[in-house]
């Protein structure tokens, strides 16, 4: 495996700017950490977790499904955008990406997502790359290449052909075999939050969480939908048409199960009529329903919903409360 310094890595990124649209964590002029294109400023790879969905790069907030002229012809003019190269995925983000890849590919293939995803390159960042040098779990896969920071250098682990292709283009760096110690450190990281989540999942599955609990949590919800907006495994969307001059365009846009009209039908029937039902669904969906359907829970403990919820009822908080009260 090669090692490379942060500067060298950025030199490399600049050298392939013509071939790829390079996106990663950036610090905006007001100090906000965000996702953005590579500019003259280096990417903020050590600035912590980006507060919104990394997966939005492949499943954006709003996107066109198709355009059709008033002569009922589909506009087939494809986008000539360069393939996307995204740097900075943390292990939890990569787990979320792995899930939504499977979600959109299984059964009916969602070609809008898959076409965008297919040509992309994903580079994870782990190791001692936390804000204060704390250790971030090593993903050990789920991406094309992982940059594992040992405190001085990135050690490059390539997991796919795309990863190896990029690695071969990097002319700097020394060979190293010092990854083993970092891997051991990563595997030894304690994950008490995961245990809490698993316990909460089991309690929910055994129907040990009563309706009063959900009513109480729902009372604290202000329906801002921040939780579903930042969640990297939320995939719900609504579909709408835009009427433009001589054509219509059909779009999809993220939707939130926390909104009262999410499931309401034209007849007035609403299977998620109360906020209590909706709050219950938000938690159960990730901890129980997806476990049934996909064989795994789909909360990977990235913590974004907890960070963003103004009333303290993100996933970790609710799971902890479930375990405390019913465990």
């Amino acid at each position: 495996m090669k090692t490379i310094t942060c500067d060298q890595f950025h030199h490399f990124l600049y050298s392939i700017r013509e071939d790829f649209e390079i996106v990663g964590p950036v610090i905006l002029h007001d100090g906000t950490l965000s996702l953005g294109r590579l500019t003259a400023e280096p990417l903020a790879l050590f600035a912590g977790r980006i507060p919104f969905r990394f997966t939005s790069l492949f499943f954006p907030h709003s996107e066109r499904l198709f355009a059709m002229s008033d002569e009922y012809r589909f506009d087939k003019s494809g986008s000539s955008a360069k393939p996307l190269l995204v740097v900075g995925w943390r292990a939890e983000d990569l787990e979320a990406l792995e899930f939504i890849d499977e979600f959109f590919r299984t059964g009916f293939r969602d070609d809008v997502f898959c076409d965008r995803r297919q040509s992309s390159v994903v580079i994870g960042v782990s190791g001692r790359c936390g804000v204060n040098g704390e250790f971030c779990r090593i993903s050990e896969g789920k991406c094309d290449m992982e940059l594992i920071y040992d405190g001085k250098h990135f050690i490059m682990a390539e997991y796919t052909e795309n990863g190896r292709f990029l690695s071969e283009k990097i002319v700097w760096g020394e060979e190293t075999d010092s990854l083993e110690a970092l891997l051991q450190e990563s595997r030894a990281l304690r994950t008490p939050e995961r245990e809490i989540l698993q316990t909460a999942s089991q309690l929910l599955m055994r129907n040990q969480v009563d309706d009063d609990f959900w009513a109480e949590i729902a009372d604290r919800c202000i329906q801002c939908t921040s939780c579903t907006n930042v969640c990297p495994t939320c995939t719900c969307f609504d579909v709408y048409d835009m009427r433009l001059k001589r054509k219509i365009e059909r779009y999809r846009m993220w939707d939130s199960c926390q909104m009262s009209g999410f499931m309401r039908e034209a007849s007035g029937h609403n299977p998620l009529a109360s906020q209590s039902d909706r709050t219950r669904r938000r938690i159960r969906h990730k901890l129980v329903d997806d476990l049934h359907r996909w064989g795994r829970m789909t909360c990977f403990l990235c913590g974004r919903c907890d960070d963003v919820c103004p009333t303290g009822i993100g996933m970790k908080a609710v799971a902890a409360e479930i375990v405390e009260r019913f465990g």
Binding site: G107, V239, I248, H269, D289, H292
Partner: protein, 303 residues
């Protein structure tokens, strides 16, 4: 835990039909995942003051195959897309019929259309009524209100393949005599020896002249003689109808393996992605809309 894709636990024939997209792709219309195929409306007729029947002709060259109880995603340009049940049996080829209530903006725009207007279709989607499970059975086909629209596809199928089934009883309830869908079909089914067709309406305006039964749909069930061991019931109707009808059927000895329900949800994509029709771990659009009641145990299906 093993994913239920692997277990194929939803229904015996495997709802996973729909997970082998390639196999069924040939008989679907629409391109890519979200692009509909474009069709002209062939004819429109009034069914009730609120519902119209739209007919689309399918050219011979299009290999469109559907099961009774499946639905399509119907596009009205500029208004979006809505899930609409196919109302005719696959045995009646060359056309598709949709009974559509004016309920919202999209269906409102559709009601303004004329023959020749262009609409978009994707589908068919979902699991229909499992005809294999219904064969050689006495059937209780129960519809409330608009539920007759999808059930009509099964009734026509039974009519065309009469020998495959034993006694067939149709129970249909609507709010008022005006709201009865497919009045001429109902009259024919009531006259026919093929079916025992019974109708009930919730209330009748004074001096209407309606001479049929007045009451709620579940009231039609207790007087029936039902051989529970070889009878299967099929239910389609508004959500509030289900608990009462299911209770009446259970009293007749039908267990959850002998009750099939078609559920109403607002599918936005039809292909299991948008999340709007989720019922716990099921997506109504790909795992339903028709379920065996047994498979829904423990879920919030009646919500």
């Amino acid at each position: 835990m093993v994913s239920c894709f692997e277990k194929k636990q939803y229904s015996e024939r495997g709802n996973c039909d729909c997970f082998h997209f390639g196999v069924f792709m040939d008989s679907r219309i629409g391109h890519a995942a979200y692009e509909p195929a474009i069709y002209s409306i062939h004819s429109i007729s009034d069914l009730t003051p609120h519902e119209k029947l739209f007919r689309i002709e399918i050219p011979d060259a299009v290999d469109f195959r559907h099961e009774p109880g499946q639905f399509v995603q119907l596009s009205v340009w500029g208004w979006g897309e809505a899930p609409i049940s196919i109302s005719n049996s696959p045995t009646r080829k060359g056309y598709l019929e949709f009974a559509i209530r004016h309920a919202g903006s999209l269906t409102g725009a559709l009601h303004q259309m004329r023959p020749g207007s262009k609409i978009g279709l994707r589908g068919p989607f979902g699991n229909g009524f499992d005809v294999n499970r219904l064969r050689s059975q006495n059937l209780l086909l129960i519809a409330g209100g608009c539920g007759l629209a999808p059930l009509r596809s099964l009734i026509q199928y039974c009519e065309d393949c009469r020998d495959e089934f034993m006694d067939i009883r149709i129970l249909y309830g609507a709010k008022t005599p005006h709201d009865l869908l497919y009045k001429s079909d109902l009259a024919a089914w009531m006259e026919s020896e093929t079916f025992d067709c019974r109708i009930i309406v919730d209330f009748v305006a004074p001096n209407h002249g309606y001479s049929g039964k007045i009451g709620l749909l579940p009231e039609l069930i207790p007087p029936l003689e039902v051989e529970a061991e070889n009878t299967t019931a099929v239910l389609v109707g508004p959500p509030m109808m289900y608990p009462f009808v299911v209770e009446a059927l259970r009293k007749k000895g039908l267990d959850d393996e002998r009750i099939m329900v078609s559920l109403e949800r607002h599918m936005k994509c039809g292909i299991g992605k948008c999340g709007h029709c989720a019922i716990d771990h099921f997506s109504c659009c790909i795992d339903g809309p028709v379920f065996l009641l047994r498979d829904l145990q423990g879920t919030e299906w009646a919500g």
